[in-house]
Symmetry: C2
Subunit: 112 residues, 2 copies
Amino acid sequence: MARKDSLESGTLTDAAFYILLSLQTEQHGYLIMQQVEDWTGGEMKIGPASLYTTLKKLTDAEVIETAGGSGKRKAYRITAKGQTMLEEEIERRRRMVQLAEDVLTKREERAE
Amino acid sequence: MARKDSLESGTLTDAAFYILLSLQTEQHGYLIMQQVEDWTGGEMKIGPASLYTTLKKLTDAEVIETAGGSGKRKAYRITAKGQTMLEEEIERRRRMVQLAEDVLTKREERAE
DNA sequence: TTATGATATATCATTAAATGATATAAAGGA
DNA sequence: TCCTTTATATCATTTAATGATATATCATAA
């Protein structure tokens, strides 16, 4: 990740990927952290530093937007642009996994 | 990524992922670049800077090792440790895609 | 009442990763 | 000869991730 903003190039980092996934339902930051940790059984943790800096970046890029929120909470929702990005990113990652499976299968066949 | 080396934490960056995949057959650096670009139809390009710095890092971490090579070419092969890491990384990425599909499916169901 | 832990957001400084640019050199063909 | 491709390598810069820290609110247990 350097020399080119990942959002501009249309790819999502792991953190951004999980955040957009969590925002399939309108949500505030703290809940995103908990949901991601929950989803991954603790494998993936987005700490406050990563979370709020990423949320700001995603907001600036109009991938997500604020949606009110009560008290000190600030709710976020994904934009149409963000939804498209997420779906394309899922496909990109699916292709990566598929490629890996194909390559490993060929390797096993060679070994027989 | 910061504050924690991705290799130490057991995850692979996109570049490292593709490199290890390419090294399912013994190969020298330049061929890795071409194969990755080829595999992804140009979507993913690992330039010389990224390639050789990543190869060095992977070698230092004993994820890959040099394997002779003729002339100026330097061949690399994946180690047992590297193979395990790659396979675990494939599973991690598969889980991410699966989670995303599940979440999106639920979202579509809600919309009906 | 008070203090403690959980909730909630935010920023700074540091470390890691990615990469454009550049350099070098050999090999092969026009 | 000259140009392109092959092949490896490093530097300096930019982007990403995050530990540490700060702040404030709220519920609840002592």
